[in-house]
């Protein structure tokens, strides 16, 4: 019921929103209450930075909750065209005298090289309706596989951070806890551009 009421509030606005059902492992792209597309979720885990010697504390997520993107790959992963100077526009009469073939009218931009859309990226989110003060409350990692985090890897990372800290060359990383969302690579690419500032995601768990 609370999920439905939260969705009504989102559906009243003319924006796209996402709904993530943790129990059903499904992610839907919606607008005005209709499902535009669905993305199967392969796994959902929590991730948090914790001291190595402590037993992992579970990340508790109160649901339903509406998360809003503070910054995502849709904001940052952009090609840029920045001409350094402009020449006078070619007059139309000149063009008419020497008509160009259709294909050569294609814009010839010189953008900065853009890497292929990644299948692993990080989205900073906060609870919608709260003041974020530029800081993320939660991090959403979208990935095509669960990152391997065995004891040895965590130990190695802890030693590396500890060494940097002792040498005064690093700070203990304070990062908000996160949700790791594992989807197929193609689905991760498909969602990439949707994660931009202001995009909202309703997280529910139908089991509750």
């Amino acid at each position: 019921m609370a999920s439905l009421e939260a969705e009504v509030a989102l559906a009243r606005k003319p924006n796209i929103y996402l709904t993530l059902d943790l129990a059903q492992k499904s992610l839907a792209i919606k607008a005005r209450g209709i499902v535009l597309d669905e993305v199967p979720v392969l796994a959902v885990e929590a991730a948090a930075r914790q001291a190595f010697y402590f037993r992992p504390r579970p990340v508790l997520l109160p649901v339903p909750v509406v998360l809003e993107v503070l910054q995502g790959p849709g904001d940052t992963d952009r090609e840029v065209i920045a001409p350094t100077r402009l020449r006078p526009a070619s007059r139309q009469e000149d063009e008419e005298e020497t008509p160009l073939p259709a294909a050569s009218q294609t814009p010839t931009p010189t953008p900065t090289p853009k890497p292929e859309t990644p299948t692993r990226y990080r989205v900073e989110v906060f609870r919608a309706g709260t003041k974020h003060q530029g800081k993320a409350e939660l991090v959403l990692w979208v990935s095509d596989s669960l990152p391997a985090r065995n004891v040895w890897q965590r130990f190695r990372e802890a030693v590396k951070e500890g060494w940097a800290y002792l040498r005064g060359r690093g700070e203990i990383t304070h990062e908000p806890p996160g949700i790791v969302l594992v989807v197929k690579g193609e689905d991760a690419r498909r969602l990439h551009h949707l994660f931009r500032q202001g995009m909202t995601m309703l997280v529910t768990s139908t089991a509750l």
Partner: protein, 228 residues
């Protein structure tokens, strides 16, 4: 070599092995000990199952209240849903779907925005060539639309925008029909049909001739468009 010499040699080898073994063990203990101390300062990323709990701010409703509120929310949700005909544009796959009463009646290949950022070298003004996400409405339709080229169309080519408005008029690029969605975003035709299915536009949606004609004749003004 006498037996006496052989015995002495073996004893010396054993001694050396023992010495290096001890040295190795001490080095390993020192290394492992230091690493264990260092590890106390680190905060490695740890994966764990995600536990969900009911939101603590939720009021405790009884069953009757829950049912009433759920029914009301469901009715509200039904009211905001689009009725009849609407368009859905998938900007990743570059597909436009015409949906009527929840059923896809036509699917077309289209081209959408590149997402490229263009910067004007004269004043650092920026344009982002995104197809907008969200809901739009077909505000008007036009046969033989004319494109009045904005500044970015020249700057992108490395040219200064012309002062004479007549030099901005382009009667060919938009094809035979235009369906206007506001803020300069149009569903229109294209000269570059081989680029359909790719993200190559400045935010508009390009369609092939037949699909565009279908839309022009079958999609009334006021139709909602959902872009994602």
């Amino acid at each position: 070599m006498t037996l006496e010499h052989q015995g002495a040699e073996t004893a010396r080898t054993r001694g050396l092995l023992g010495y290096f073994g001890l040295l190795g063990a001490v080095a390993f203990l020192l290394f492992a000990g230091s690493a264990s101390v260092l590890a106390r300062f680190g905060q490695p990323l740890t994966l764990m199952p995600l536990a969900t709990v009911p939101h603590p701010e939720l009021p405790q409703w009884d069953q009757g209240q829950l049912k009433t509120r759920a029914a009301r929310a469901q009715a509200q949700l039904e009211r905001v849903k689009p009725q009849g005909l609407y368009l859905v544009v998938d900007t990743y796959r570059n597909r436009l779907r015409v949906v009527e009463d929840g059923r896809v009646v036509r699917e077309a290949l289209c081209s959408t925005g590149t997402g490229i950022v263009l910067i004007d070298p004269r004043n650092q003004r920026k344009w982002v060539f995104d197809t907008p996400l969200g809901e739009r409405v077909i505000e008007r339709k036009q046969r033989n639309p004319v494109w009045i080229k904005p500044d970015w169309a020249f700057i992108e080519e490395g040219e200064e925008p012309p002062k004479d408005p007549a030099e901005r008029v382009d009667p060919y690029s938009l094809g035979d029909y235009g369906l206007y969605m506001g803020d300069g975003y149009i569903i229109h035709g294209t000269l570059f049909k081989s680029l359909l299915g790719r993200r190559v536009t400045h935010g508009c949606i390009r369609l092939g001739d037949e699909d565009l004609e279908f839309l022009y004749h079958n999609v009334p003004v006021g139709t909602r468009v959902y872009l994602y």
